[in-house]
Amino acid sequence: MSLPPALRASVTPPELELIACQELVEIIPLIAMEKTAFISGAYGPLRPPHKARIPIWMAVNLKQKKKCHILAPEWLTVEYLQEKILQETTQDEFTKLPFRFAEISRVLLDAASDDLQNPDKLRSLLKDLREARQAKARAGLQSLEHSSLRLSNLSAMEINEIRPFFIEAMAVLGQLRP
């Protein structure tokens, strides 16, 4: 195949970000707009003091033009993340988080950090969470088997990160069987 080895097994983080941007987020618009049809569906109408649910890519676009405020999802708060980190470090299994939390949190923190409470704290909490989860994935590597792998509660970005070498390692283990 003509693709480099690293791209054969998995998609790239920017591609995952693109997919994650299809998800909906709540905004408070600052402009009025009629209901508008897009390929993925019809969104709107936007009426300034009322909340609206639109895709993240559209919210980011409006935000950059200062035409809306993005409301953080309920999981993107300091308290929620702190609790998750506590669970993550005390339990053996991965804690449940939104499937695309890594992508969405990064996009929102980049585009709309002024709409979030305490963005720097959020960033460091997300980093802690990521590191705690990585340590668990590493521990799981020791008990890798050739046939199956349970990835309960692992997020899209994390699966994507470990996929290339996990499947390769599993293939090797399969080859080494008697």
């Binding site: 983080p13 890798l144 990160e161 470990i162 070498f165 390692a169 090797v172 283990l173 080494l176 008697p178």
Partner: protein
Amino acid sequence: MNDDYFSIDAILAENQKVGCRFKTDIPDMGHLGGGGERDITRSNTLQLPIWLVYTVVLSDWADMIMPPAFGNKVRNALKAEPCSVRLASLVGAGGLWYGFGKTIMELYARASLTLLNNFQLLSNSLDDKTEMSELLTNTFRKRLVEVIDQAQHFAALGPAGGAGGSGDSAQSFREGLDGTERELFALAQEGSKRMKRWYEEGEKARR
């Protein structure tokens, strides 16, 4: 690592030399040993590539001597500490230790099918392919974590800090990586680099 017909790795793994002790005289085949002798005589020991060993052993012309790469010494070292054994230096160019082991394992499998009790191994008690498989699997699994750890460590260093002395044992482990592990190392490193780049893009955009 796979046993596909066109797999270069499989061909290289089959090219490893293994010692064979002949049980019968074979006339006019002395050139296989690379010497000037005309015939192969009984109880001569020759180094043959493993693709040839299949035929020689299965026809009961010779006994295979367990190659030192899987000998007692190496097995004991692997039992003690898998990460401190330099697999690459146990086998020749290309360093496909697992591939070599797998080929020997297949030889056992075929031998046990064709000539049940005739297949004996000198100099080694590792006469069971299950045991061989366990040796390979345990070694691979225990070294895997270290391989991935180091790959991620190097991905985090970035292009500038690659050569820095990060401890002798780590470096000697890297130099001793088998070809299969090397591939995994590259995969994990590339993946970590991409993640790092993606997270850093966001940080740059903020500044």
